[in-house]
Symmetry: C2
DNA sequence: AGCCGTGGCTAGAACGTTGTAGGGCCTGGG
DNA sequence: CCCAGGCCCTACAACGTTCTAGCCACGGCT
């Protein structure tokens, strides 16, 4: 329905010419602010429509001092991040902020991702599971509000905000669930140096100690993927006595465990119980049916957005660290030991 | 390491003042083009470094006519899209183009996503599995190069480029694999009106006919998720005689089938064979171990990027439709019928 | 000696918007 | 009759870049 374009994209001036008014007036009309008569307003709108005019966000932001842009760095490989991003959109737009996405991928490191966001004039940064050194994050936070989601940082050492799940508490509730079922030989497959991993390890140790199982504490190196879980499972198979329950770093790791157990003819949960972390789609799949610790994703992204917006608008920032409670979801991979 | 900022972000002019040169020269140095002496170049770079200057991408694009921006619309819910996006980054950056991401989410429809990309001055659009009416896409394609990935459109009816997997061929190879194993009662669980679904249905019918199995053609309504697959499986259970093999619309659907079969004590592949589509992470997971049709993701995204760049640079566009061959990956869910 | 080319630099005008200051015109009150 | 105060509207200057001219000094040709 657009008129024959002269090859260039229509500008305010084009609309102005067609409607016989000044560009300033067109700007006023396009923004919907007051300052134009009804008749003219309609005429301008019609002209804009006819030539297919669209405001140029870049020029617009260049002029206005605020950009109202929130930069989000996320990883394409982590399904969890997709869910968080969805939450960010939902929280940011009603507050009048736009979201700029910048993905971390194999061919594109965090540095690149953040640089792109800064070059784009984002007013604040929301980083999902950033791996960059704390010093680098601190440096960034000197320039603009920054919040790290899911990666814990020593509080008060820098201005970086932190939003995270209470990882330790999550694992603790998993262990407590197993203990209540009667388990004593409970192993933890950890996540190495992944965000949250050390907290989960600590939660495991604390819970074991608290139940007088200090002698049974056993942490095996794991990781974030099915392969890591599978490797850990193979190690477990050679262990005597074999533990009666395993708390894995995350769902993918847990699925790796399940797989090896299944193939080795070890019944879950009859012979061994398995707990994951995340409550990903994977866990919910009926034939996986994994008992797991769910993170409160909407709350996490909402808190992250809330934090940076509060900083931007000079409101008192309640706390520099927001800890969101996880929730144990009991499904079919845990049962009393034989 | 940045100097005490006066609250505003440093600009070319700030660097220029500090280095005692003109803004134009700083611009030249920052872009690394020729036109500056070595000594001055170094001095400018040092000044920029000291005050923490970063070019403003928006101002930069405003001035230059080309924006070198490729807009990508993708869905956060489809893991498949994440993989494609990764491929787009890999293909676009070496060619000198930047990627702008715009996600479709529950709270953010395609219209919003595309509007954001256009407002951002993208020169071309890459749409993953767009659901918008063909007419709307055609309209867009009048304004700038547009390519639809994974959604087929009637060719030559509009300027929209199409990059897709040969869905029909993929399903055909799946059926042929099953026929070669000795199956005759092969059912297809379809994807309704999802992108690619009708081609897959057609591929199934063609292959069945070609092997003289026209009488055994049977298509059950399915969908894209595990739930759809599970529902279809329950329908199948009530069927007599029960088919010996199922070709599902995609992996998630196939996993739903597997789940119900597993719970109902129907052995896969002994009693029934299952084939998926996509070769997602899901399929590769050892304990799912799904025979499936793999899409060539790197090639898909590379073709999409190549297509729009060719259009942008006025090169002859080889074809309006690029069809990428799929590849059958035989794993553990298919075997000869009993 | 005159001329041209070249390397290093700068002034100033774009790019498409929004904000500020103000200019007409009308209306109503003194 | 004059002025204050609204309304509509416009001119012009930003915003941070890049691009086009063009200036100057120097050196190598004819």
């Amino acid at each position: 329905m657009s008129t024959a374009s002269n090859g260039k994209r229509p500008t305010l001036a084009d609309v102005a010419a067609r409607a016989g008014v000044s560009t300033a007036l067109v700007s006023i009309v396009m923004r919907g602010v007051k300052g134009a008569g009804d008749a003219t307003r309609e005429r301008v709108l019609k002209a804009a429509q006819e030539i297919g005019y669209r405001p140029d966000a870049r020029a617009r932001l260049l002029r206005s001092h605020r950009s109202q842009l929130l930069g989000v760095q996320f990883s394409l490989e982590q399904a969890f991040h997709s869910d968080l991003v969805e939450g960010v959109y939902a929280a940011a737009e009603p507050a009048g902020y736009q979201v700029v996405l910048s993905a971390v991928a194999a061919s594109r490191g965090e540095q690149r991702a953040v640089d792109a966001l800064l070059a784009d004039r984002c007013e604040a940064l929301i980083l999902f599971g950033p791996q960059a050194p704390a010093a680098r994050l601190a440096e960034l936070a000197e320039q603009l509000p920054v919040v790290s989601v899911a990666r814990r940082l020593r509080p008060s050492t820098s201005r970086v905000g932190v939003v995270r799940t209470a990882d330790d508490e999550g694992v603790r509730s998993a262990v407590e669930h197993l203990v209540a079922l009667g388990h004593r030989e409970i192993v933890h497959i950890d996540g190495g140096k992944a965000p949250g991993a050390s907290d989960r390890r600590r939660g495991y140790r604390t819970a074991m100690n608290r139940h007088g199982l200090a002698d049974h504490v056993r942490v095996l190196p794991g990781g974030l993927t099915e392969e890591h879980g599978a490797a850990a499972a193979r190690t477990l198979l050679d262990t005597h006595p074999r533990p009666s329950a395993v708390v894995a770093f995350n769902d993918r790791c847990a699925v790796g465990l399940l797989d090896v157990f299944l193939r080795s003819g070890i019944a879950v949960p009859d012979e061994i119980s398995v707990v994951g972390f995340d409550d990903s789609h994977l866990a919910r799949m009926a034939h996986v049916n994994l008992t797991t610790v769910a993170q409160d994703i909407p709350r996490l992204s909402e808190s992250a957005v809330g934090h940076v917006i509060a900083r931007l608008e000079g409101k008192p920032v309640d706390e520099k660290e927001t800890v969101v409670a996880p929730r144990l979801v009991v499904r079919g991979t845990t049962a009393a030991p034989r």
